[in-house]
Symmetry: C2
Subunit: 409 residues, 2 copies
């Protein structure tokens, strides 16, 4: 069984946090100068670990093992949210690096092959999961032509790639048959492990996300001279429907479903004017496609009832549907077994409520994910953190699970 080196792991995590350090976190959007610098540092650390690294034409850093045994791909991302945390993404990449080193140091595992990747732009400053989509053949040249920086639309991805010296570098592509599967470790970004006293989460699926834009059309009018019975108040219609959704959903959801109305607008939005139009976005997530379908059907029915009842017209403007990505069952079993060895009784299965590169890789490879606890459930903020002991334990479980998968038939 490989033994990871906790000090070496933590030292690498602390070193890469120097690139773009912000308070106790990191500000390192993909292709920022600090991001490019960190990619070159990472490639050098991969080389020192015996991998052959490349920085490809979209910014992915991929370290390939020269060994010829059974092979896994491990990865996550080293770009960060604006003024984000020091572990979101990076931890999974450095786990891969440490697993390569630990496997090589153990005579029983020294021939096992692991490639390690840092996927470009997981946080979507330029597009969405840009690097893993590129690697799996889901990103066209036209997509790259169209991509602009989220915070400054005058900056194009093409120019940023050129500035990083990547304009004429080919984009790495997944070779069929090269890998047994893909493994990704990540901080949980929620509070479930902490709340239940667990230290390892084995991900069953990355949830699907459905988002429904719902519009309400009434008649804008004077809030003093328009009697209540003849009003067509789009704001009232939105409040009534949102309330009905919050009343209806608890009986329809699964135990870990979430739903959110994160966006609500009323027009014109003045205290003395009856709103003539309103719009909201209802988003819901679950790992089970049947639950997602049931919630969409319920919301659609509530919209139809509200529209039929009046006095405002209510309609669904559009629905975006990202389907759940189930994780590989046998690889989940390997995580369970490794976790039971190193943290008996302190692990659980759970869905991932957030999106990850693994949902992209899962379209091409058997894939699995593992979580470690987030202190206070905090993420996407520079105060994000995980106890050192949990970081080290997680890497040991990850290494053990990788060895089990590579040694299995």
């Amino acid at each position: 069984m490989p033994r990871i080196n906790g000090e070496r792991l933590l030292a690498d995590l602390r070193r890469i946090a120097d690139f773009g350090r912000y308070e106790t976190g990191v500000h390192r959007p993909h292709l920022s100068p600090q991001d490019v610098e960190s990619r070159h540092w990472l490639a050098q650390r991969m080389r020192e670990a015996g991998l052959d690294p490349v920085i490809d034409g979209i910014g992915n850093v991929i370290g390939r093992s020269p060994k010829s045994g059974p092979r896994l791909l491990m990865g996550s991302h080293t770009d960060t949210q604006p003024r984000g945390g020091w572990l979101d993404g990076v931890m999974g990449v450095i786990y891969g690096l440490e697993v390569v080193r630990a496997l090589a140091e153990d005579p029983e595992t020294k021939d096992l092959a692991v490639d390690v990747a840092s996927w470009a732009d997981e946080e979507g400053h330029w597009s969405s999961m840009t690097g893993s989509r590129s690697f799996t053949g889901r990103l066209s040249e036209a997509d790259i032509d169209a991509a602009r920086f989220r915070e400054d639309a005058s900056k194009t991805l093409r120019d940023a790639l050129a500035a990083a010296g990547l304009a004429n570098v080919p984009r790495a592509q997944l070779e069929d048959g090269r890998y047994r599967g893909y493994l990704e470790a990540h901080i949980e970004q929620g509070g479930l492990l902490e709340a239940t006293g667990k230290r390892i989460g084995v991900v069953t699926a990355i949830v699907g996300i459905f988002a429904m834009r719902i519009a309400f059309t009434g008649i804008q009018n004077h809030a003093g001279t328009t009697p209540m019975p003849i009003r067509k108040d789009a704001g009232v219609a939105m409040v009534r429907l949102a309330n009905a959704i919050h009343d209806a959903f608890p009986a329809l959801v699964g135990p870990r479903s979430v739903w959110t109305i994160g966006r609500m607008l009323i027009e014109p939005g003045a205290p003395a004017i009856i709103p003539g139009r309103a719009e909201m976005t209802l988003q819901f997530r679950d790992a089970d496609p049947a639950i997602l379908a049931r919630l969409e059907a319920a919301a659609t029915e509530l919209v139809a009832q509200a529209n039929a009842k009046g006095p405002c017209s209510v309609e669904v403007l559009g629905v975006s549907r990202t389907m759940p990505a189930p994780m590989d069952e046998r690889m989940q079993d390997a995580f369970d077994a490794a976790a039971e060895t190193h943290a008996p009784g302190a692990h659980m299965r759970m869905p991932s409520g957030a999106g990850h590169d693994a949902q992209i890789l899962a379209q091409r490879l058997p894939s699995a994910m593992m979580f470690v606890p987030s202190i206070g459930g905090i993420s996407h903020h520079f105060t994000e953190n995980t106890a050192d002991a949990d970081i080290v334990l997680g890497c040991q479980v990850f290494a053990d699970a990788a060895a089990r998968i590579l040694k299995s038939n």
Copy 2:
């Protein structure tokens, strides 16, 4: 009984609509070039009707009768909403002018004295009911120093008055004992007269307006990784309270109360982020102070219940209270009698849901108001209109009521 001249009345209304004409309406904010021009035209028409006109230091046009008999003040405003209608305000001023002419033409009423005013800036482009507040001693020099144009804060009221040649003109002040009372005619701006087939509305009171700003504070978080049981969603708290208000108010209001949630904000307002903060404005209007107090108490109690129940904190940030302005009972009787003479059975008593200069004058003088129907209830829009026959009938009723009030003991 005075006989008004409908053709002369309509001709004056159409002529003044030339100043700032916009589509079928008028764009004439106070002290715009078109507004200033219209004030000089109005002063000239007053002079031709036998009044002594002044344009005072705030822009009020006041035509004083040289007669010495019992005296009434009549008025409204000739400034307009942006791209507003041709009758909102102006009609009441031209009614006053026509009443002066009609009284003078009738031997029975030729000694009755009526002063006519066009109050400056009723629509509040610079302040709020600026001209009538000035006339009644409710507008200080400091208020004028502070006033800026609503659509362009670089323009000061002082500069605009100077540009109109009014910088060194005194502001006219109400003299105690000069008037028996104040009368104002206006379009209804709502659809009640039209819906009930009436042609004259006798205003019982100008409603009071209470506005409560209510804030909701939760915890902003990731909409994917934060389980429902631990969420503190400020948007849900707002929807729940707004719904409770819409449920509770119908049992507490009077027959003509109105309530509106015209402003709702949630922060940060993104589909995948649980709102950490929300805010809404609840406004309600009624002519009865007891009903306003009851609604404020009910809303305050619902806020307290929501705050106690959690998980978000809910608080009233502030309450603005404009109290109702009851209209004079004997003057209402005179309007009833005149309306019954000219439009038997086609008149009704009703509150004014909108604010008017009469609510300012009512603080110093017995005051009354009369409405004519608005086609389709439309106002504050260039398509605002009233049937010519209703405009003429309204002026006849207005003249008759004025004569009755002036001849009474």
